[in-house]
């Protein structure tokens, strides 16, 4: 493949007078993996949309091999060999694998007639070139997220993408799947594709990227060779300040046992799960995706009760069959999937935050909005939610701010036991640090926290004790001092 360069200079873009991008530059070369880094709201998504022709820049130029080009719409970008794999996968669940690859440009015989034989033949070739063996007639709905991603990559390759943009491709993958993905990324790089790689996981970037460009608040910070920077450098560039300790867990004397789970079992999902959670303690739950951790937390919270086993809260045996009862017992659950389970996206911040405590603001069946607004305002300013007003709709907020709203919502119930499922997944480092220090404060106030996390540094940094699960069973329990990455991974990957 020939040498190709895509160069963006002095790109600016405003929405309703607010600068989303301001004087940004970027250069992508064939055979290079270029990382794009920045906090949420730094302008990464907007930049991607400019490159893919979804947005047109207000100022600035785009050059392909030193020839100025205009990308009027996604089709124009695709015609130049620019292809993107978005964070929210653009897979078609009810179409089969082969058709998924060719949607939008199916080969045709005569005008309009779909050439199915060609579709299956080419899909077969594409997948085998990626080293993937799948039944082409399988509906995409039945694939894992990692497999769906491979389909998207195949789709990008099918248009001979010279420039491939990958927006957070690893955020939903397990470690093994990430390794598979990186294998393919490297193969593409060798074949001469230019790759723009967006991820919040810094460790990954050191593994895969050649160069890194950092954005902050819509502005260009710097472009560096990856082997010339450290994690600390990158974080400093991103946040504009040094974060000495990403995981500032304060030492708290653990109090009495508030939650005791014994032999909890849900058939086919998890078995004989037992542990204790103390006042002021953060108990980390580690394991691979699908190990049954989320299901255990849902059993405790009454979303999907267990078949067998007992749960004691402050020494009292309880039987919780729905979330309402769990809340009465002082439990709160911040779910993993904030968009579906944590927030009501079309509602505003006030409505979201006060949802579990509405009864406090009602008088003879009528809602007193002023009280609700004040409570929402207090909760969201305590968590530093960045929003224009408390009437802003949840769907308009960035990922990090959405997570803060979910936290504000559950903290407003004054829980004694807080379950956090992947509390910082997909949110930027600044917000992450804020969430971590909040967790630490809450523990210091005597709240018992059960934290499910797939990020080992987070588990190691935040937890007083670490419980590891594998295929529905507890396979390890470590204290903060004895836990290491290796021990946890060992317990998480093979039953001990």
């Amino acid at each position: 493949m020939s040498e190709n360069t895509l160069r963006l200079t002095n790109i600016s873009k405003s929405f309703a007078g607010v600068h989303a991008l301001h004087g940004v530059q970027l250069e992508l070369h064939s055979g290079e993996v270029h990382a794009l880094l920045g906090e949420n709201g730094a302008g990464k998504s907007t930049l991607v949309k400019v490159i893919t022709g979804v947005h047109q820049p207000d100022t600035g130029e785009i050059y392909l091999n030193d020839r100025r080009i205009h990308l009027a719409d996604p089709r124009a970008a695709a015609a130049q060999g620019i292809s993107a794999i978005y964070q929210e996968l653009s897979i078609f669940p009810d179409l089969d694998i082969a058709e998924n690859i060719f949607v939008g440009r199916r080969p045709t015989l005569v005008s309009g007639w779909v050439d199915w034989r060609k579709i299956y033949r080419e899909a077969e070739q594409l997948l085998s070139s990626l080293g993937i063996r799948l039944n082409l007639k399988t509906k995409a709905r039945h694939l894992s997220i990692a497999q769906q991603q491979m389909i998207e990559i195949a789709r990008a390759l099918s248009v001979n993408a010279r420039f491939l943009i990958m927006d957070e491709p690893t955020s939903a993958l397990t470690l093994n799947e990430v390794a598979d993905l990186f294998l393919i990324v490297r193969r593409l790089r060798e074949a001469g594709t230019a790759i723009l790689f967006i991820s919040h996981r810094l460790e990954e970037l050191f593994e895969i990227a050649d160069k890194v460009t950092v954005l902050r608040d819509g502005a260009y910070v710097d472009t560096r060779a990856m082997n010339g920077v450290t994690q600390e450098d990158l974080i400093r560039m991103m946040v504009g300040r040094t974060i000495k300790d990403l995981f500032p867990k304060k030492d708290v004397e653990a109090g009495e046992v508030v939650l005791r789970v014994k032999n909890l079992t849900r058939k086919g999902i998890f078995k004989d799960v037992s542990f204790e959670l103390r006042k002021g303690e953060i108990l980390g739950m580690a394991g691979l995706v699908g190990a049954g951790r989320t299901e255990v937390s849902q059993a405790i919270f009454g979303v999907a009760p267990a078949d067998e086993g007992t749960i004691e809260i402050e020494g009292q045996s309880v039987h919780i069959t729905n979330p309402g009862q769990a809340m009465q017992h002082g439990l709160a659950l911040v779910p993993e999937d904030r968009q579906h389970h944590g927030l009501v996206l079309p509602m505003d911040i006030t409505e979201n935050v006060t949802l579990p405590i509405l009864s406090r603001f009602s008088s003879r069946g009528r809602l007193i909005m002023e009280g609700a607004r004040r409570a929402a305002y207090e909760a969201s300013s305590r968590l530093e939610v960045r929003a224009t007003t408390v009437w802003q709709k949840a769907r308009e907020l960035s990922g990090g701010n959405q997570q803060k709203v979910v936290l504000a919502k559950w903290l407003s119930t004054n829980p004694r036991i807080l379950i956090l499922d992947e509390p910082t997944r997909g949110i930027d480092i600044g917000t992450k640090a804020a969430v971590h220090s909040l967790m630490s404060d809450l523990a210091a106030q005597g709240i018992a926290i059960l934290m499910i996390s797939s990020e080992l540094p987070e588990v190691l940094g935040m937890s007083d004790r670490i419980l590891v699960m594998h295929e529905g069973r507890v396979t390890g329990l470590f204290s903060r001092s004895e836990a290491t990455q290796e021990k946890i991974m060992l317990a998480a990957t093979q039953a001990v």
Binding site: S90, G112, V114, I145, G290
Partner: protein, 337 residues
């Protein structure tokens, strides 16, 4: 990456029915035929089945259009009103000019239908009105136009020329023309939805509208198109209706839209969009037709017909929901591997 996908290894009864909805329907229809023929001997005869086919032809045609629209996550509630308005208008033309060639009348009906369908399409795509609201509006407007146009008068058999009456009732190849028209519509629909670019785009749009847009599918045009197609089929159905019943009335096909939705949903079209097949919808219409016929033969009241129809819709939707849940659990469990 090389492992088989998890759901495939767990072949449950549910995933079987999820993939072969048509087989489940055929099984149910056969069972029904056995049960009804035991009750009423007149059921299992050639003439009776010809009757059933004649009765469901118009339903099947419109149910195909309805199914296609539901696949795009829309709905067309105005189908019955469109049918009635076209039937009334072409009948008035025939009453005034009985010599008009039948073919011209059919083309006129199709033209009128496409105009009414484009109005729906424009309200939905340009006006950004949700389909259910837009077509609820035109349901009333078109029905109102029937009254306005006819001044409340009916078109009676005597007003229609005999050549026109033969349009639906005459036979070729041993089948009534109406049944043949329905079969042709079904064949065209099958080819369109399986082999034509725009037809496949309907599924892509329904299963993931955002991704469809990103993939360069002109989603607005596709949406507009399905309502125009629905209008065309309703226009054709309208002229056939007038010919078959030799009449056009202000209450022609009143409430018929719900039957078309029922046939589509029973036939496996998902209200969530993206799923549905031509054979499925045809079987859905056939099932409704057999039930109506069977209940009529057994002289069971109209109320029970409606109740059975409602029960079937609920059964179809509940089984779909269960299947979806099952699929989701097998999927999430698959990640553990």
């Amino acid at each position: 990456m090389t492992t088989d996908h998890p759901a495939a290894s767990k072949r449950s009864l549910f995933s079987f029915f999820a993939q072969y909805r048509e087989l489940a329907l055929i099984g149910f229809i056969l069972l029904l035929i056995v049960v009804i023929s035991l009750q009423s001997p007149g059921f299992l005869t050639f003439t009776n089945f010809q009757d059933i086919l004649l009765n469901i032809s118009i339903l099947a045609m419109i149910a195909l259009a309805q199914g296609m629209i539901i696949i795009t996550r829309g709905i067309d509630l105005s189908v019955a009103s469109t049918l009635a308005l076209v039937a009334m208008m072409v009948s008035f033309v025939l009453k005034a000019y009985p010599e008009t060639p039948v073919i011209l009348i059919v083309l006129l009906a199709i033209g009128l239908g496409s105009v009414l369908g484009s109005v729906n399409g424009l309200i939905i795509t340009v006006g950004k009105v949700p389909p259910i609201i837009a077509t609820l509006g035109t349901l009333s407007i078109y029905r109102g136009l029937v009254f306005f146009y006819s001044n409340g008068d009916w078109i009676n058999p005597i007003d229609l020329p005999s050549g026109f009456k033969q349009l639906a009732k005459g036979t070729s190849l041993g089948l009534p023309n109406l049944v043949i028209v329905a079969i042709i519509v079904a064949i065209i629909a099958y080819i369109f939805l399986n082999y034509i670019q725009a037809g496949r785009d309907i599924y892509a749009l329904g299963t993931n509208p955002e991704a469809a847009k990103i993939s360069g599918i002109r989603t607005q045009q596709i949406t507009f198109m399905v309502y125009v197609i629905s209008g065309i089929i309703c226009g054709l159905a309208g002229v056939m209706w007038a010919s078959r019943y030799e009449a056009a009335q202000t209450n022609t096909a009143l409430g018929f839209e719900l039957q078309t939705v029922a046939a589509a949903v029973i036939g496996g079209v998902s209200m969530l969009g993206g799923i549905g097949t031509v054979p499925g919808v045809l079987l859905g219409a056939l099932l409704l037709g057999i039930i109506q016929n069977g209940l009529t033969l057994s002289s069971i009241s109209q109320f029970w017909q409606l109740a059975v129809q409602g029960f079937l819709i609920l059964l179809a939707v509940i089984s779909d929901a269960t299947i979806q849940r099952r699929i989701r659990t097998t999927m999430t469990r698959g990640f553990a591997k």
